[in-house]
Amino acid sequence: MIKVDHLTKTYTNGNGIFDVSFEVNKGEVFGFLGPNGAGKTTTIRQCLGFTNANSGSCTINGLDSRAHSDIIHKNLGYLPGEIAFFDDMTGLQYFDFIQALHGYKDKTLRNDLIKRFELESDRKIKKMSKGMKQKVALISAFMNNPDVIILDEPTSGLDPLMQQRFIEFILEQKILGKTILMSSHMFEEVERTCERVAIIKEGRIVATEKIKDLKEKIQKQYVVTTKDKSSIQKLFKSNLECHQVNSHQVEITLHNNTQEMLEVLGSCQIESIDSIHQSIEQIFISYYGKGVSL
C-alpha cells in the first residue's frame, strides 16, 4: 500500500534520509519510530509529495507520491508534524475549508470526531492551545473517511485521557481495515497500536520489526525501594541483575524472569516498585545489547 523504496533526500547541511526502505501493507497500522531529528518528517513529506527525492521513490497504491499526489490525496488523510493552520479561522471554518478542498460533503464522521475528542470547534484556531490544535489536525485527517492515513507524531500535545482515546480510535480504524503510517518518538504509543515498526536513526532505517518480537527482546527495568538494608542484600544475593541507585533503591533489569523477581521481592520488605519509562534510545540499546550505541 505505502512503499518507500531506497529513498534518499539530503539537505544542504548534510542531514537528511539515506536509502530508507519500508513497506506498509493494506490494513496495517505501521509505526515509524525515531528520536527527534532522525528523519521521520523528511520521509513523511516525501510520502505526501511535498519534496523531490535525490533518489529512490515513495509509492502509494502503486502511484508515485510526487507525480500523482492529486490522485493519491483523494483517499489520504494527513496529520502534519508541525501544526500550522489558517489562524483566523475557527475550527469549523477550517473543517469546512478542507472539506470544500477535498470535495467531501458528508459531515457525520466529522461531527462524531468533534464529540469524541471534545473539541470546542467554534473557537478561533489562534486562540487554541497546542492540544486543541492537535485535535483539529487529528479530526481533519480522518473526517473525509480516507483509506490511507499518514500521521506525524499524532499525540503530541494531547493529555493522557485524549491519548488513550486516540489509541482506542486507531484500534477501531484498524478493524475497519484502514492503512495507517504513524510516526512517533514514544514507544508506548506505537506498542499499543501497531503491528510492525521501522526504527530510524540519523536518517537510516536501523530495524524493521514486529512489535511482538521487539517487545520480547526489550528488557524491563524496575526501581525497587526497600524498607531496610537487609532486603537490598537479599536482592544482590539473588540471580537478578541488580544495580544500586542509592542506599534504599535498586534498579532491576529483567531477562524474561519476572516470576523470579516477584519471588525474591516477596521475601523482601518493599516500600514501592516503579517501572522505568524507556526512551527509544534505551529500547534500542536493550534491543541490540549494551555494546551497540545509537
Binding site: 513529506r45 505526501l48 509529495g49 511535498f50 519534496t51 523531490n52 499526489s69 492529486d70 490522485i71 490525496h73 483523494k74 489520504l76 494527513y78 502534519p80 508541525e82 501544526i83 500550522a84 493552520f85 489558517f86 489562524d87 483566523d88 477550517y94 475549508f97 478542507i98 470544500a100 478542498l101 477535498h102 470535495g103 481533519s140
Partner: protein, 266 residues
Amino acid sequence: MIRALFNYNIKTNRVLFVSLVLVMTMYYSIMISMYDPDSIDAIQAMLDAFPQEMISALGFTNFGDTLLTFISGYIYGFLIFLFPMIFTIVTNHKLIASLVDKGSMISIVASPHSRLKIITTQLLTSILMISSFFILTTILSMVVAELMFPHELDISMYIKLNLYTIVLYLAISSIVFFASSIANDAKTSLSIGVGIPVSFLVIQMLSGIGDQFKWLENFTMYTLFDPQKMIDGESFVNIGIATLLLISMLCYGASIYYFNKRNLYI
C-alpha cells in the same frame, strides 16, 4: 481553478482591496476637484515655487490644459506607484509565500489537487485582483469626474490610459508573484517582491531629477509606462505595452514552472 481556494483568496484580501480602492478614489476625487481650466497656471506657479528637481522626481511635470492631462500628470506620474503597489505586493505575497512561510500551504497541497492547479488558481486570483482594482478605480474616478465636470474628460483616452496602467501592473505583479512562488520564507519573498519594484521606482525618480541623471531611465521598467506619450499618440507606447506584457508572461510562466518543480519544506 480550485473554487474553495479562490474563495479563500478573495476572503483574505477583500479588506485591503476595498480600503485601497476607496483611498485611491478619494485621491482621484481630491485631485479632480482641484481641476480648474482657468487656474492651471496658478497651480503651475505654485509648483514652480518648489525646487524643480523635487517636482520632476515626483513626476509632476506636465498638467496640460485638459482634465485628462491634469489627472494623468497628477496621478499617473507618481501616485499610481503608491497605493496600487502596496496592494500588489501584499496580495501576491499572501497568495503563496505567506502560506508556505506559515505552513498553511500544507493543507492545500495535501488536498486532492495538483500543484499546477494550485498555482494556476493563485495566478488567476492575482491577475483578477490587480485588474479589478484598476477597473473599479477607473469607473469610480470617471463617475467623480463626470459629476464634477460633465463632459470634460476624454473618456476613451482615459480608459486606454487605464488599460495601459493594468498592463504595467501585470508586469509588476508578475515579478512579485514570482518572488512569492519561489520563496521558502516570508523574508525572501518580500525582499525580492518589494526590492525590485521599489528599486525601479527609486531609479525612475532619480532619472527625473535632471538631465545628468536621465540615462538612469534605461534601468527602470517604469520607463515603458509613459502616459504623456500615450496621450500624444506616440508609437513608443506600443513597444512599452508589448514589453510589459512579455515581462508578465515570462514571470508568471516561470512562477508556474518553479512552483511545480520545487521542494516545499512545510
